[in-house]
């Protein structure tokens, strides 16, 4: 696969890992946060922790849109589907996320029309093909995904498609990073920046992290060589006591971002004054709602939404794991009451959630003494 396989070359990975070992000061303990859930998933999928020296610690950040979605929002979306008899269309990622009355898949088992879509445009296609059904797209995602929802709404409006709406849960990444840095328990040296969000917002929005907070941030791609190269770049900055925004993912991320995508977002969305993030509490100006010009396509305006707030069980420590204060295994419920099959918190349901990723890919590896002698 072009633009993928080159960045998984084992020889070059070995050499880059050696460079990391050379650059990492043995007297120092580095704490690097990867913001994006996709990076968390990549770290586990490629076994990157195995090639890093033990004094580089990777802390998982809150960039997992499924993980930060409050249960009440899932309940609201599903209750619309149930009460109004509409079709609930969402990405596969949402299907097993538990609401208080069960997950979307569990609702499907009870007869609610739940569909998995790969793209918001596929949800709109469903609406076109089924004029007697109302299709509600339950939208999640950061700025990577919001422009696609925006374009889809623009197309729905332009075509006058009436049996389509969006239940919008899009959130923005900068307030999440701010919440991390504002957290008193957090000690971080640098950030591995979200590569795909940056294809939309560019690299400028991170400048305050370097300038005001004095932390390097390197916008990174998702292949093993991308992440390892980003760590090399971070170490060089830290060793030189610098703090800058750098773009490791140049082949895809434009420094200025994607203007057309930002225009589409501005056309369709505006910032909500505040929004609740599971584990992080209420954050102002951190989420998107659909603008007045698109009200007929806004599921929250079109249908009655119970708007119930659901608090997480007190024993679940999702918030602290989300902020990187606790490691998944340190949560009292991890691996016992809360497992991928019976998730209590969203960090265990989403495959890129820290707890699920750790449980699936790493948990039982601790028995191994020497992984490096492989074939």
């Amino acid at each position: 696969m072009r633009f993928v396989d080159e960045f998984r070359d084992p020889e070059i990975i070995n050499r880059t890992a050696e460079e990391i070992r050379r650059l990492a000061d043995p007297k120092r303990h580095y704490r690097l946060m990867e913001v994006c859930g996709g990076h968390t998933h990549a770290i586990y999928r490629f076994g990157l922790k195995d090639v890093l020296p033990s004094n580089i610690e990777l802390i998982h950040g809150p960039g997992c849109p499924v993980c930060v979605l409050p249960m009440g929002r899932i309940d609201d979306g599903l209750s619309i589907a149930k009460e109004q008899g509409v079709t609930f269309a969402a990405f596969g990622d949402m299907m097993r996320v538990p609401g208080t009355q069960g997950s979307p898949l569990e609702h499907k088992a009870r007869g609610i029309d739940i569909r998995i879509v790969y793209s918001p445009s596929d949800a709109l296609k469903l609406a076109r093909a089924n004029p007697n059904k109302h299709i509600m797209f339950f939208a999640i995602g950061f700025e990577t995904t919001a422009p696609s929802t925006a374009l889809t709404l623009m197309r729905a409006k332009a075509e006058g498609i009436k049996n389509f709406s969006v239940f919008c849960n899009h959130v923005t990444i900068i307030p999440a990073i701010r919440a991390i840095l504002d957290s008193p328990d957090m000690r971080l040296d640098a950030f591995i920046g979200p590569g795909h969000v940056s294809t939309v917002i560019g690299c400028r929005p991170y400048e305050w992290i370097a300038v005001n907070e004095g932390k390097p941030i390197v916008v990174s791609g998702f292949e093993p060589l991308d992440m390892l190269q980003s760590i090399v770049m971070i170490l060089r900055q830290l060793n030189a006591r610098e703090a800058r925004v750098e773009n490791q993912y140049k082949r895809v991320v434009p420094w200025e971002g994607n203007r057309a995508a930002l225009r589409a977002m501005a056309e369709v969305f505006q910032l909500r004054p505040y929004f609740e993030w599971r584990g992080l509490g209420f954050i102002s100006q951190s989420a998107l709602r659909i603008r007045d010009g698109y009200t007929p396509w806004d599921a929250e305006q079109r249908f009655h939404v119970p708007g119930v707030r659901v608090t997480d069980p007190r024993a679940a420590q999702c918030g602290e794991v989300l902020k990187g204060v606790l490691k998944p295994a340190q949560c009292k419920l991890f691996g016992r009451e809360c497992t991928p099959e019976h998730p209590i918190g969203a960090l265990m349901v989403s495959t890129e959630g820290s707890c699920a990723a750790y449980h699936s890919y790493e948990h039982r590896k601790n028995l191994l003494t020497n992984i490096h002698t492989v074939a």
Partner: protein, 98 residues
């Protein structure tokens, strides 16, 4: 929010101004090119695909440059070892070689 894959545009869909057929090692899908309308890609271009939309054009040049930089990592090490062998304390300039 993060799963995005590089694919090659093999044709623009006739009659649909914003749709292109993209191929990833033999798997094809129509992808919405609307987010790249400021610099529309043409067949043969590589784009990054996320949820059925093209997010960005992929720069082959930048990809090659990245590989070159990475390949030089080991070589720069060897060069440094040589230099150290001459007894010159010159670590500070290492970062600037790359």
């Amino acid at each position: 929010m993060c799963l995005a894959i590089p694919g090659k545009i093999v044709e623009l869909v006739p009659g649909s101004p914003n749709l292109g057929t993209v191929e990833v090692v033999g798997v094809r899908r129509k992808v919405d090119l609307g987010l790249l309308q400021d610099d529309m890609p043409v067949p043969g271009d590589w784009v990054l695909i996320h949820v059925g939309f093209a997010m960005s054009k992929i720069s082959e040049e930048d990809a090659l440059e990245q590989m070159r930089t990475l390949m030089m990592l080991g070589e720069a090490d060897q060069a440094m070892d040589e230099v150290r062998g001459y007894g010159l304390e010159d670590h500070g300039n290492y970062e600037k070689l790359n």
